[in-house]
Every structure is written in C-alpha cells, then in structure tokens.
Amino acid sequence: MAVDTATPGAVLGTPRPNTPRARRYLAPLLLPAVILLALLSIYPFVWLIYMSFHAVGLAPGAPSEFVGLDNWQRMFTDSQYWASWGVLARYSVVSMVLEVGLGTLLAILLNRSKHEKLLITVLLMPMMMAPVVAGLLWQYLYNGTFGWYFWGLRSVGLLDEGTILGSADTALWAIVAVDVWEWTPLVALIVLSGLKLVPQDQLEASWMDGAGPVRSFFQVALPSIKGSLMIAILLRFMDNIRIIDHFIALTGGGPANSTKVLPLYLYEQSFSFFELGYGASIALTLLLVTILFGKLVVNRFEEREPRPSKKDEELV
C-alpha cells in the first residue's frame, strides 16, 4: 500500500468520538468558528441576494429601492457582461493550458534534478509576491518607455508595432504571461507531488516491459498524476475568477475592454459606478459558477484523500 509519508497524512478511519458526551464537548469547539463564518459569509450572501433586487443606495437607513428583476434583466441583455465572460474564459483557458503544460514539464524535470529543494525555493518566490505588486512590476517591464521586456521583445524583433499592453491583441496575453510567471510553479509543485506518488514498482514493471522514459511516463506516471493535474486546473480556475489584482494594476480592463474579465467588470460596476445592485446580480452569477467549480474541487480533494469506507458512512 502506497503511503504518503507526510506528517499530516491520509490517516483514515481514526476512531472518532461519537458519544453524546463527545458531542457536548465538540459543539463548543465547532460553533464559534461556524457562527463567525456564518456572520461573515451567509449574512453577506443574503445581503447580496437582497441587493440584486434593489437599486442600492449607500446611505444608511432604508435607502434601497425595490426594482424587481431589473438588475437581472439588465444583466442578461448587457453585451459587456457576456463579453466579459468571454474574456474570462479565454484568459482562463489559455493561462491554464500554458501553466499545466509548462508546469508538468517543470515537475518532471524537477523530479529528476539534484537541486530540487533549491529550485523549489526559487520557484516559490513569485507566489509570495502580492498580485497587485506583481502587476505593477510587470507593467513596468512592459512599459513602452522604460520597460525591459518591451525593449527585449523589440530588440529580438518579436514586437513590430505597438506596445504589449497597448494593443487589444496582446494585452490579454501579456496578463496571461504574468499569471504564468506567478502561478506556473504552483502547478508544477502540485504535479510534482503527484509524481512522488507514482508507484515505483509500476515504473519498474514498465521498464521491464521495455518501455522508454516517454512511454513509461504516459503509461504509468500520467494516470497517477491525473488527479493532481485536475486539482491544479481547478485551483487555477478558481483563482482566475477570484483574483483581479493583475488586471487592476496592468490594464484596468483596457484597451477597449479587451481585458475586462467579468470579476473586473463587477468591480467596476460596484466600486467605480456604485451600481451595487447590478453588481450584486453579477456577483451572484460569479458565485454560482464558483460554487460549481468548488464542488468539483472538493470532490477531487476527497478522492485523493481516501475517505472512510462505506461502512463508516452508514454510521454517520
């Protein structure tokens, strides 16, 4: 049986207290966090729903005017809303493909490198950087007057006309590059963890069968890291919906809305134009998608972390 030698391991089926007395002492442990979290998430969620049916005024008291489905109707007929979904999808898919491809390659090579620990330390560095600072840094690198990356691309002839962020054709891909820079290592580390779990005996068996490294990768390693890859993909998708700091720092959605991903559009509606009711409608649709993705993520996690058997489930 393959064992994860982690400290926090996948120990399953540890006996659990389930006496009435146990419930009595577990409840006070659980409830404070649950109540706090409920206050900070369910209460806002209810607010969000309320706001989505109102034209929200900011003044305290009873400032909001009930507008029925106006916000929703507006949303479904708002071409920018749908365009922003499109931008989000394009952005997510492209950065995902790049990050997974590059990350997997990186993981395989890391797994074979003698300097794995050192390299991981280096790779962690971009992830420690506040996304908005990363955005500013890259805005500087892309800058048409001072930017070294701009200069480099021009010097090697990759960039003929325009600047990187100034063109609707390249701005989104420029932000993709920042995302790739900051988060490919994360994908690599997740995949690396999957590679560590590739059963050595199976690898040996495939070598005994005469498979080369490439073939044995596809035969043995890939099936084993499929779960890790899935987790990486889902986590990155979630973050692409969650975090818009790169966009705020780099383009603010321009040029010509070419980088206005939906969460950024939501931000603009809510906190530039103070259309909080309309923003709430958009936020709810984003949340819905997030929850669906979240369900997938959690299911994936639970697959990886073996759950107690069916028999135990019956007891629950």
């Binding site: 006996p15 389930n18 006496t19 009435p20 007395r21 146990a22 019956e314 007891l315 629950v316």
Partner: protein
C-alpha cells in the same frame, strides 16, 4: 485489582448495533480474551470498559461499582492501543512516566518504577529515544510498559501484537502471559487471532456480530464449541465441515452424502434424534488431526477423495483433499504423502468419537 462485569450491555451506533446484550463477568486476576473477527463488537466492548465509548444500555461494573458515567481518567484502568498511541513528542521515559506524573508520585518513585518496568521489558537502552526512532516491536514494548508502570485495576489490550511479525508475536505471547500471571492484574485482551486466545487466556469470550457466542477456557471452547461458527473459528487449520443428511439405518443413524456414509455414534445419535433437524440436514465437523489417510479403501478409511496438494510443515504435513466438492484438510505425519501423489485417489479415515454434529440450519452443536 478488581473484577469486571458486563450486565446486559448494548452499544449502538445510530442504526448499527455493535454489541448486543453482552453479559460477561471477568474474575479478579483473570486473563480474559475477547475473540472474534472484524466487526464482532470486541473492541467496542473493550472501549466501553475504558470509558472511550458511551454505553448505550446496560451496566459495566468494576468490582461492584457502576462505572458507566465515569470519565476514563477516573476509572483507573490502563490500556494498550492497537496503534500503540505513543506520544510522539515525548521520549520513551516520558511516555511511561506520564501516567505516574498525573498521579503525583515523587520523582524518585517515578524514576524507580519506570526503570524497573523498562528492565522487565528490556527497553532500558531506549528510554531516551522518541517513538519515531523505535521499531514496531520496540514501540509495542513501550506501550505495554506505559501500562505496566501504573498498577491499575485492570489491563486492557486492544490487539497489541497484531502488527508484529510472526516470530515476535510468538515471543510476546509468552512474555505477556508471564507478566500477567506475575502481576495478577485483571486483564481483558482483544484479538482476532484465535491462537493468541488459545495460548494466553484463562478464559476466552468469543463474539460474532455483536453477540457473545461462547465463554470458556480454551480447552472447553476447543473441545466443546457451542456452534459450528465457534468450532471453525478456533483451531488451526480449522475444523473441516461436511454436509450430509441424517438417515435411519440398522436401528441407528447414519449421515449420508454421495461420496460416503458415516455411522453416527450411539450417544450422538440419541442427541440428534431428540434435536429437531430441519430436513434432516446435518453438518459434520472433524478436526484435521482427527482424520487419517490411506491409499486403499478399507473399513477404517471409507471416504474416497483425491489429493489436491500437500503442505509439509517440518514435523507434520497438511494434506488438502477433495471429497466431491468439499475441501478437507488432514493433518498427518510428515512423509505420508509426497508431491508426486498429486491427484492420486486417497481414502479418509476418522475416529467416530472425534466427530461433531451441528444442526445445518441453526449451526448449534448437538452433543
């Protein structure tokens, strides 16, 4: 030291009844083995004694005191866990000293008792190590040591040696038995390995699906199992079971199957005829060591079979014989059968007085 009593104890987990109406008394100083397969309720019973599980119904008495509602720490009972449950951050010494410190013993006294126990268990040189630096066998000794230092009312063992290799297990059985007899502490020992029960226990309590099947000394359980399930659970290799039909013949009874007819001894015949068998179906039990083999059919060897495989074990060998669809294991002298005899016809003999008869439907033994 004290006696332990289960009075109609039930353990329910939501819909599942893990222990059903358990009535059992453990005498002061006794070594009782709770034996049974996975999920039989033996661990739940043990954990109810420890106070780690709530008692759904019934009472558990320590001496005459009802301990149902006492917290574990107030029960003065020591326990060895299946995973040993050593404190990973503490040294071996601290692991063993922990219960004593709680009892506010003097430093010298703690030191003396830990070292004394460590000496008995031959783990003195490990006292400064941490659990992660110990092998499985060493951990197991430390876990036992942590129990022994305490001089509690009772010892509880939850599969303490299940994860050791076979050789070490055999040695530990002896040691545990010796220690228990020396100290004379009441002990409840949970295991799924009948060999442990047979070799160590004063009495065994065999459970199945939450129900106590039989309580008795190893000898009693082995020789007079109350039902076919206990009979096959105890003994290695297990008792052979043949399906047959009881028929009247020559004023007595015979058990008949397509391949053989067995005359039922008079005493059991009487019992069988008073028992009301369903459709006259009976199961015949015979232990491998009660069977003999012959290459020719003779009156002592009436049952025809075919040799399937032979497993030499040094002094004896286990012969795997197929009789019709039934698989029979026979324990014989070494060299009776060789590998070349595979698939050869063979004839089985038995000692009539060593046969057990069970009601094929209820499984109850008929004596």
């Amino acid at each position: 030291m004290a006696s332990l009593t289960f009075n109609g104890v039930w353990k329910r987990y939501d819909q599942v009844e893990a222990v059903k109406d358990l009535n059992l008394a453990v005498a002061d100083g006794e070594f009782l083995c709770l034996l049974g397969p996975s999920g039989c309720g033996k661990s739940s019973s043990l954990r109810m004694i420890a106070g780690l599980e709530f008692i759904s119904d019934g009472d558990i008495l320590l001496d005459d005191r009802r301990i149902n509602d006492l917290e574990p720490r107030h029960r003065d009972i020591a326990m060895v866990f299946e995973s040993y449950a050593l404190y990973p951050t503490k040294t071996v010494f601290e692991n063993m000293a922990n219960p004593l410190r709680l009892r506010k013993l003097s430093k010298d006294e703690i030191d003396r008792r830990v070292r004394e126990t460590a000496r008995i268990l031959e783990i003195e040189r490990l006292l400064n190590r941490r659990p992660s630096q110990l092998s499985g066998g060493q951990k197991q000794r430390v876990a036992i040591g942590r129990v022994l230092v305490r001089e509690p009312q009772a010892f509880l063992f939850d599969e303490p040696i299940a994860h050791l290799d076979a050789k070490l297990r055999a040695r530990m059985r002896g040691e545990l038995k010796h220690i228990q007899k020396t100290l004379g502490t009441t002990t409840v020992y949970v295991t799924h390995d009948q060999l442990e029960g047979m070799s160590m226990a004063d009495r065994m309590a065999i459970m199945r699906e939450g129900v106590l099947q039989q309580v008795g000394t190893p000898h009693e359980v082995f020789n007079r199992p109350t039902n076919v399930w206990v009979a096959t659970f105890v003994g290695d290799p297990p008792m052979n079971i043949l399906n047959a039909e009881v028929q009247a013949a020559d004023g007595g009874l015979v058990a008949r199957a397509p391949e053989y007819t067995i005359t039922i001894p008079a005493q059991q015949a009487a019992a069988l005829s008073s028992a009301r068998l369903t459709d006259n179906k009976v199961q015949i039990g015979v232990r491998p060591e009660a069977l003999t083999l012959s290459s020719v059919r003779d009156p002592q060897h009436p049952i025809a079979g075919r040799i399937y495989a032979v497993q030499p074990l040094g002094d004896v060998e286990i012969v795997d014989v197929r009789v019709g669809d039934d698989r029979i294991l026979v324990r014989t002298e070494l060299g009776t059968i060789s590998n070349e005899d595979m698939n050869a016809p063979v004839f089985l003999g038995y000692k009539p007085e060593k046969l057990y008869f069970f009601d094929a439907v209820s499984g109850q033994a008929v004596y």
